[in-house]
């Protein structure tokens, strides 16, 4: 019940395309769903986050879609750029507690 399942493990997208990464969870106590972006040699950095009272949150080219009934959430990267090439982690927590991370998706955007 504590797991967060993330897919795909790796993703190759052409420049200008849409990158989609999916996550699923079981624990209905989870109340906070962030996405982290990690470049090689760096620590993960918070990219965007959502609470379950909204179904979508958009920040620039990055959008989180949240489906509470299905217990799924996804990250959409519109107009993907080579500079978006990184590893992306979804996570979940019951808001005031520690984060449970997915296993990561390595995104490669080719020109």
């Amino acid at each position: 019940q504590q797991q967060v399942k993330q897919s795909p493990q790796s993703l190759i997208v052409q420049k200008g395309g849409i990158s989609i990464i999916n996550c699923a969870y079981e624990n209905t106590a989870f109340d906070y769903f962030p996405w982290y972006q990690q470049f090689p040699g760096k620590g993960p950095a918070l990219l965007i986050a959502i609470r379950p009272d909204v179904s979508e949150k958009k920040e620039g080219r990055f959008t989180i879609s949240f489906n509470k009934s299905a217990k799924q959430f996804s990250l959409h990267i519109m107009d993907s750029q080579p500079g978006d090439s990184a590893t992306y982690f979804c996570a979940a927590s019951p808001y005031t507690d520690k984060l449970i991370f997915g296993t990561g998706t390595r995104l490669q955007v080719f020109p």
Binding site: Q2, Q6, G41, K42, S93, T96, K98, L99, I100, G104
Partner: protein, 110 residues
């Protein structure tokens, strides 16, 4: 900007050595965390602390201990390093929910 600083980027230690990984944050955050990152496994929580001198076990505490004597500093200790502890170690701090990570320490145990 929040700054979480880990004392070493790369470390090579011998099996059986006692290893200290240090982490300092400059934002007066209450909560601090140690994760390890392995390919295909994501980030797994080792220990965390919600206050000075307090610590709680995460999902994989075996073989590790921690120390938090000051609010800004959280140390991870490998009592007797083993080869299966070769990994990337990430420290994070948080004011409550969003976690801010350091750059990581890549530890190799030979």
């Amino acid at each position: 900007d929040v700054k979480v600083t880990q004392s070493s980027r790369y470390l090579v230690k011998r099996t059986g050595e006692k290893v200290f990984l240090e982490c300092v944050q400059d934002m007066d955050h209450e909560n601090m965390f140690w994760y390890r990152q392995d390919p295909g496994l994501g980030l797994r929580l080792i220990y965390f602390s919600y206050d000075v001198k307090m610590k709680e076990k995460g999902d994989i505490p075996e073989g590790y201990s921690v120390s938090r004597e000051k609010k800004e500093r959280f140390s991870l200790i490998l009592e007797s390093a083993s080869t299966n502890q070769t990994s990337m170690y990430l420290c994070a701090s948080s004011p409550g929910v969003a976690a801010f990570f350091g750059q990581g320490t890549r530890l190799t145990v030979v």
